[in-house]
Structure formats: C-alpha cells, structure tokens
C-alpha cells in the first residue's frame, strides 16, 4: 500500500510539472534587459553565507560591447529561505563603469531534494534601477535528476514600472542540462528565451573545497544568439565563495 501511495504521489507531481511546462510554453516569452543570467537551483542550506561575482559580456557586430557585473552577498535565514542582495554595474564600449541597479532576492525551497519526481522552489526578486525604474519578479525553480544528468528549469514572470519604462508584464524561460562528471568539472548546456532574445550555448562549472565548510564554485559559458535580434555572443561567468 505504501509503495502504491508513493507511486501515486510521484505521478501527481509529474503531472503538475508537465502541466506547468505546458502553460509556460503556451505563453508568449518576453523580457527586457539581459535575458542571459544565472540559473537557480531550488535548494537552500541553513548556516550558509556566500559572496558572489557574476559577469555578463555581450558582443554583437552591430552594437557596442556591453559588460555587466553583479556583486552579491547572500545568507540563509532557515533551512528553506535564502536571501541575497546585489550591486549591479555596467558599461558600454569604452564608457566608464556605472552603477546600474540594486537588487534583493529571496529563494524558498518548497520540497526536499529527491522526495518527489522533481524538486521545487520559488525565487522572488526586486530590482531598483538608476532613474527610478523598478522590476519585481517571481520564478518557479524546478530540478530533476536523471542519473548523472540534471535538468533545471527557471520560469519567470516579471513586472516593470517606472518613469522611463512602460508598466508591463513579461516572462522569461531559462533551461540548463548538466552532466555531473566530477565535483571539479561539470559540463552543461543552457538555453534562454526572452523579449528580443533567444540563445543557447555550452558551459563548464565546478567547485573546489577550501577547508571546513568553505567552497568556491565557478562557472564559465558562452551563449550564442539564435535569432536576428539577439547579441551574437554572451559570455557569462560566476564565482561564488561559500562559507
């Protein structure tokens, strides 16, 4: 009877997952700003603190090169909630680096890893850009293991408002397929879709243990635009120090 109940529970969550994917795949996928970003996993560890630097470099033959830097400090509040604040700077071409925005985010782990057919979490973000423009978003985080392959989906709904932008509701889709080769080397493929952008490309990532409960996580990837409006190449990097 217990086996049957577990099977029914697994089937139920599988159906919810497929249902939500169907809904989001039917929505028009749109978003302003940099569509390529970090892909979030739906897990939180208590007692975790991290410092993080993310970089985005967009290169296009028809545009100035665009560079974006996100410096973050994060801390868990419990075994299910993790918060992080960011300072975001950017520059175009040979311009000087300028503060672009401030961001706060809260991640909520909803299910225990491995309990159901997929693991679930939610991410809430609030961003204030220079010039009194605001952006609030929520994203559904879904992850599933297939042996050494791990797939992650981030489905975001974004609301923008402010003096210089039209109030609008947008959406964004980010997918990652990762192969767990070894702790120091995990190759992956990521796909992003948003307003005026669709891109796909390879990444490599890994982690290094630096001592008791201290880790350095890194990733490096190149995302290639696959439609006419997208930057030809977006190089993304991330360095996280957990302690």
């Amino acid at each position: 009877m217990k086996v049957k109940n577990n099977f029914q529970k697994t089937e139920k969550y599988s159906l919810i997952f497929i249902y939500l994917l169907s809904i989001f795949s039917a929505l028009p996928v749109q978003a302003d700003g940099s569509v390529v970003s970090k892909i979030y996993h739906p897990y939180v560890q208590p007692l975790e603190t991290e410092i993080e630097l993310q970089t985005i470099y967009e290169k296009d033959d028809d545009l100035k090169d665009h560079q974006k830097y996100k410096l973050g400090y994060g801390q868990s509040f419990s075994d299910t909630l993790f918060g992080e604040i960011y300072l975001i700077t950017s520059k175009d071409g040979s311009d000087n680096l300028e503060i672009e925005a401030y961001e706060a985010e809260l991640k909520w782990q909803i299910t225990e890893q491995g309990e159901y057919s997929a693991d679930w979490g939610v991410l809430f973000e609030l961003e204030k850009e220079e010039g009194d423009e605001w952006e609030a978003s929520s994203a559904l985080l879904v992850e599933r293991e297939w042996g050494r392959l791990v797939s992650t989906v981030n489905l975001s709904v974004i609301y923008e408002w402010g003096d210089k932008v039209d109030d609008e509701l947008e959406s964004k889709l980010a997918l990652q397929l990762r192969y767990r080769h070894s702790p120091r080397f995990e190759p992956a493929i990521e796909f992003f879709s948003g307003e005026g952008y669709q891109g796909i490309g390879p990444l490599i990532m890994g982690r290094e243990t630096l001592g008791q409960a201290k880790k350095l996580r890194w990733e490096l990837g190149g995302i290639f635009g696959i439609d006419g409006d997208s930057p030809d190449l977006t190089v993304k990097t991330s360095l996280e120090y957990e302690f």
């Binding site: 577990n6 208590p46 491995g114 008791q212």
Partner: protein
C-alpha cells in the same frame, strides 16, 4: 526508512546497505550539540543538520555501487558509505 545517528562527530552506523533502484528515506539524528552537514557528491546530496535535531534526506533510486559520504564540519572523523546492492 534508514536511520543514522551523529554522535561525537561520527556517523553510527557508518555503513548502510540499501536495495538497488529503490528510493530510500534517510533520517539523520544529530545527537551532538553542534551542527553537521551530511555531504556526498556521489549521492548528489548536501544537508545541514542542526545540533540536537533530525534531518531527512531522500536518496536513490541508485544502481549498485558504493557511495561515500562525510560530515563537512568534521570531515576527518565523520565518514561513511552507502552500499547499494
């Protein structure tokens, strides 16, 4: 369900055997006053268990093999393995 204790920074038992291709609920009772993190890259699991409390993990279904784990806060003493057969 399988149960493991953490006592004086050691896993007890330090080896558990589970059936292949079966999901297992693993309850870890941390009997020490200090927190410990169950960690295993091979099992793809990390879980902090606060002092004097219990944490639950789900592992598998897994193919036969040996999957080591350790306590990240006391890696020299807190070590163990999951044997899947």
């Amino acid at each position: 369900m399988v149960e493991i204790n953490i006592k004086q920074h050691l896993f007890e038992p330090s080896e558990i055997t589970i059936p292949a291709n079966t999901k297992i609920k693993l309850r870890i009772h941390n009997l020490d006053a200090t927190p410990e993190e169950f960690e295993s890259w091979e099992l793809n699991r990390e879980k902090v268990i606060m002092g004097n409390s219990t944490g639950t993990l789900f592992i598998g279904p897994l193919p036969p093999g040996i999957y080591p784990f350790f306590g990240e806060f006391n890696p020299k003493t807190a070590q163990g393995k999951v044997i899947v057969e």
